[in-house]
Amino acid sequence: MSSGHPRTSKNLLSFIADRFPVDKLNFHHMVEEKRVPIHRMSWGYYTGGLTALFFLIQVVTGLFLLFYYQPTVSDANISVEFISHHVAGGALIRNMHAWSSSCMIFSAIVHLLTAFAMKAFDKPREITWISGVLLLLITFAFGFTGYLLPWNQIAVNATKVGLQSVEDLSQCLPPFLAGLPRVLRETFQGEASIGQSTLGRFYAMHIVLLPLAIASLLGLHLLCVQLHGMSKGVDKETDKSERFFPFFIFKDLFIWAIVFLGLFTVSICVPFDSFLPYPLLAPYDPLAATPPGIKPEWYFYFVYYPLEMLPFPVIVALSNILMAVLFLTPWIFKGTSRRTLQTLALSATAYLIVMTLFGEQIVHFVKP
């Protein structure tokens, strides 16, 4: 018993020392010496950088939107309309914010799947993986909190559904915890129904709390990536590699330029709201009936459509299992070959694509 504690703390110290080697904490090791393997999965190394690019675009366009956006139930929708129709370049900035938020979530999911397939969570990269999973969850939280801000029919009604789901969690909890979801919902909502307090809280989360959380975690994530270098990515050892600085950086910058141009072109040509029926874009009316067609953003379809088909407790159980697997991936798949991981990643990709593109048809088929 007496020797248990020193051994545990020794193990913990050794774990931390392996993940944060002080001798490698210098520019020479982290940048000049760093090499990037070249193989058929090398494209996966660019997905993290692209996610960072979309995050930077979010920050810059978000700052511009802050100049005009009014976080009050009476003015929020009008201020968004004002940005779109009367501010010079306002429509472009707003569209870039909306498009890049979707692109950021898309590239974050692709980054997670490629990192999984390339076994980029293997020792000593466990903290890189866990911080990455947390970053993805924060990105989803950004999407959820930002969705309410235009204060239109779909924004408020979809948020209502989301918050109701939080309260519904009480069905799946033991009696002593059953009150917790209600407390959580009330905390997010701030008042009896969605109103000014909710908007204020979501706004605060969207522009202060979540950016602070993502900035700190992103710092940790990038530090880990630079400290441990790129994972080898494939089972077979490859001789080919290139220097991170300047060659990989050159290519990364070029891809950033092309992707930015693509985003700019799409944002200037296609308003993001065009994909929604116009009755859902009308200012929120608390006295009106809930309009048909209320749905969350596309990146929640993978959980929204199963919710339509399966009992709520089943979805909660599956979500919990998925979360546990995601966080424990470095230990669960420690000895798994990359070929198996690629098959698993492809299966997950297929599920996400099918549920996102054909989820509605599947629901109609299952529940006519």
């Binding site: 779109s84 129709h85 429509a91 600085f245 300047p246 950086i249 050159f250 910058l253 070029f254 950033w256 330029a257 930015f260 141009l261 700019f264 072109t265 799409v266 200037i268 040509c269 296609v270 308003p271 709201d273 065009s274 994909f275 029926p277 116009y278 009755p279 859902l280 874009l281 009308a282 009106a288 309009p291 048909p292 067609g293």
Partner: protein
């Protein structure tokens, strides 16, 4: 003329008579005009697969019946006069400024006449071809008639079929896109040269030191 609550009533009996008459007239109008023509909305939704509402032609998204803004129950005497004038525009060419219709609705009545609009209820698809594909109220590059067929908002420049908007805007904003492309690629080239410059300085220093 139509009585409104603004009228001054000297005795309760007059007030009751006025209120009763007002109620009867409003009710009559609601029956006659209040029910819009859902055939067009139903066609638009079926044709496009999108949810729409009365706001494509009416001031109020829930239609002309009711007491809300742009609805019959809230009209003033002057607005009732305008409504009656609009209701008599059976033939095309008459300027219409109906308080319950939006600009697209007004233009529709002006261009086709109410008689034609009523006829088209039997075959709502004809409304688009009868109206023609020249008018574009919101100037988004998609004609109003096409927006009716696509189930999009003819009065909102930032709402339309995504692909059609892309095709229109890629031509409209070609100079902006080209300017952005030149700017971004120059910036990228500049960054690359800068990094290359740092590398060259580093190599030169290393050479000198050895």
């Amino acid at each position: 003329m139509f009585p409104t609550p603004m009228l001054k009533c000297n005795s309760p009996s007059v007030f009751l008579q006025v209120t009763f008459a007002s109620f009867i007239m409003s009710f009559g109008l609601c029956i006659q005009v209040g029910i819009a023509y859902p055939e067009f909305q139903q066609f638009s939704e079926k044709n496009s697969g999108r949810t729409t509402n009365c706001a494509s032609c009416h001031e109020n998204a829930t239609g002309p019946a009711g007491n809300g803004s742009g609805q019959i129950g809230s009209l003033t005497i002057e607005e009732f006069a305008k409504l009656n004038e609009a209701r008599t525009a059976f033939e095309p060419g008459k300027d219409v400024d109906s308080p319950i219709l939006n600009r697209f609705g007004d233009l529709l009545i002006k261009k086709l006449g109410k008689r034609k609009v009523l006829e088209d209820r039997k075959e709502p698809a004809k409304l688009a071809s009868d109206y023609g594909f020249q008018s574009d109220i919101d100037q988004d590059g998609i004609p109003d008639a096409q927006e009716f067929l696509d189930g999009t908002d003819p009065q909102n420049q930032h709402h339309g079929d995504a692909w059609r908007l892309f095709v229109v805007n890629i031509n409209r904003y070609a100079p902006h896109i080209i300017a952005a492309a030149i700017g971004v690629l120059l910036l990228d080239w500049g960054f690359a040269r800068m990094i290359g410059g740092f590398m060259a300085i580093k190599r030169a220093r290393k050479k000198r030191s050895t």
